[in-house]
């Protein structure tokens, strides 16, 4: 996770329904949300935040297609050109026997490709520093944060007291 270099003002909630409600309220008041933090995925949060659909699956399809081609063409080259061997009296180019391996490599390529792409996008590599807004969001609290440049602290304060936040804090991350 990168360093943001922003000052945020954030409210702590004790229930995910309150958080979801607050997010919807903020959206309807056109307050730009910096981020939300939760110990677990909250159902409907993607929609409420208006996040666009992930494009990871397109990458997954491309990796899978590459895997299919690598496996099929690779085996074709090996068993017909490079080192032809007769297995079980079958022809050199024994397509049905290639199918299971082609399937496996498709799955392997798309799974590894998507995992590595996901890590790269999120910057999740060994030694990464992970700034936590509030450690309690890894346990039982939920948090909604505004960038102080987008939303003034007084606006944020009135919003948080209205939407039932337990406490309001500021922090530089």
């Amino acid at each position: 996770m990168r360093k943001y270099n922003v000052d945020v003002v954030y409210g702590i909630y004790d229930d995910e329904e309150k958080l979801l409600h607050a997010v919807r309220q903020a959206k309807s008041k056109h307050l730009e949300i910096f981020d939300v933090y939760s110990p677990f995925p909250v159902h409907g949060m993607d929609n409420a935040l208006g996040l666009s659909e992930s494009r990871l699956h397109i990458a997954g399809f491309v990796y899978g297609a590459i895997g299919t081609l690598v496996a099929f063409l690779g085996m074709t080259w090996i068993f017909t050109r490079d080192w032809p061997i007769i297995f079980g009296g079958k022809p050199y180019w024994a397509v049905p026997s290639f199918i299971p391996i082609t399937f496996e490599l498709t799955v392997l390529f798309s799974a590894w490709g998507m995992t590595l792409t996901f890590y790269t996008i999120c910057g999740l590599w060994p030694g990464v520093e992970n700034p936590q807004l509030d450690l309690r969001t890894t346990d039982d609290k939920f948090c909604l944060a505004f960038n102080t440049k987008d939303v003034s602290i007084s606006d944020a304060n009135s919003f948080f007291s209205e939407s039932g936040a337990e406490e309001v804090n500021t922090k530089s991350i």
Binding site: H43, G44, F61, G88, G89, K90, P96, S97, I99, P100
Partner: protein, 427 residues
């Protein structure tokens, strides 16, 4: 909203009746233009009866799977499956006709049903403990009665729950008991039924994958038909509680079991081919040489197209793509069953047929001699127009039966413990 009873517009009833009449005309047409043994008529009757009966079985099977698995998402439209399973009554009648035919020798669908063959043919003689007239009639029809018993139990309890349900969930607990009991029963009897009804048209041939392969086929069709019926009912203003979230899950099932079917389709071939089981290659030999369009088209319609179309997230949520894939897959698996049944029955008709027609004989000879192996004969090596008409008739019969039983009770279980979960279902 939950207590709605459906009342179909008359226009739709007329359309269903017209489809039914098309089916009837097709049946008469096939019967009138047939050989003396009525091979084409009986094979089409067997094909459609088995297909739609197994679709009804898969409906009650999947309902019981969901009840046993504490699944809540489907509760809002669960009664559609309950009503689909009531086609088993019609299925009992249709399979009863075919069983009577086996008993009294009205047709030559099954080689093993011939007295002379059963005594002289070593392989068929070895299987005669299972493949005999008595077991076909009592066993086959007994299975349908058994399935219907559970379908009736599930329906009775869910309807009783509407009026008498309370916080003790007595009806729900009984449903769980019967659903769990049904799963192993359905597992074994469906396999035996597929052996009896479909695999035994090739009595010399044997495949361990076949029962799974055929039931997976019918499972995908059942999901496709559920989607189509639900979209139809929604277009008529019912089932407001069924949202794109439910369709998304149904779409996932269609996608997943399409791949499952392909796995079985391929593995059946692969095990025989790679295991060097030469005597079992006859099944594929016949189909690849005499039915190439169906054999390869089968894979395109039932795997390649649904796989590519349903892969994306949004195609499982939109009516347009769901309708296209639903129809494609439903017809595709009907064709799949066509090519499971047709070659074996035509072969049997030719072997036994002192009265086999030139048409039936021709189809067989074309393959054996290979010289003119690519001549297709409507209704024999590819489904002809009357076959499609007959399918439409059966679809109308199936849908009419489903809607009839659906209209007898509230569309949504009112007191099901998972009802709220289902109404707020979110993928």
């Amino acid at each position: 909203m939950n207590s709605e009873h459906i009342q179909l517009p008359n226009k739709d009833k007329i359309i269903l009746s017209i489809l039914g009449i098309i089916g009837l005309i097709s049946l008469l047409y096939i019967g009138a233009n047939d050989d003396l043994g009525h091979t084409r008529l009986w094979t089409n009757l067997l094909h459609n009866s088995v297909y739609f009966t197994l679709v009804a079985l898969m409906a009650i099977f999947f309902l019981c799977v969901n009840v046993t698995a504490y699944a809540g998402w489907d509760v809002v439209f669960r009664r559609v499956w309950g009503s689909m399973s009531y086609f088993l009554i019609v299925g009992l009648l249709l399979m009863g006709i075919i069983a009577l035919g086996v008993y009294f020798g009205w047709h030559n669908l099954y080689h093993w049903a011939d007295q002379h063959t059963a005594e002289t043919d070593t392989i068929i003689k070895g299987k005669s403990g299972f493949l005999n007239k008595n077991f076909y009639t009592i066993g086959g029809l007994g299975f349908i009665v058994l399935w219907f018993f559970f379908a009736k139990k599930m329906r009775d309890y869910t309807i009783a729950e509407d009026d008498h349900g309370d916080g003790r969930w007595a009806h729900y607990k009984s449903m769980k008991f019967y659903a769990a009991l049904f799963l192993p029963i359905a597992g074994f009897t469906s396999a035996a039924a597929v052996w009896l009804w479909i695999m035994s048209v090739d009595p010399h041939w044997y495949s361990t994958m076949f029962a799974w392969y055929a039931t997976a086929s019918c499972f995908v069709s059942m999901i496709a038909l559920t989607i189509l019926i639900l979209i139809y009912l929604k277009s008529r203003g019912y089932y407001h509680g069924v949202t794109s979230e439910h369709f998304h899950d149904l779409g996932k099932y269609m996608f997943a079991f399409t791949i499952f079917w392909t796995y079985l389709w391929f593995d059946q071939y692969m095990l025989i081919w790679y295991g060097n089981i030469g005597e079992e290659t006859i099944y594929f030999q016949t189909r690849i040489q005499e039915y190439p369009i169906l054999f390869y088209g089968n894979l395109v319609i039932n795997f390649v197209l649904p796989f590519l179309i349903l892969m994306r997230n949004d195609t499982k949520r939109k009516y347009g793509t769901l309708i296209i894939v639903g129809i494609l897959v439903f017809v595709g698996h009907w064709i799949d069953l066509f090519q499971m049944i047709k070659p074996g029955t035509l072969h049997t008709a030719m072997e036994l047929g002192d009265h086999a027609s030139a048409a039936a004989t021709h189809g067989h000879e074309a393959g054996t001699h290979g010289a003119h192996g690519h001549e297709f004969k409507m209704g024999f090596t590819i489904p002809g127009i009357p076959e499609i008409g007959l399918m439409l008739g059966f679809v109308a019969l199936f849908v009419a039966t489903t809607l009839h039983f659906l209209s007898k009770a509230s569309l949504t279980p009112k007191q099901d413990p998972f009802l709220q979960e289902s109404l707020h279902h979110h993928v």
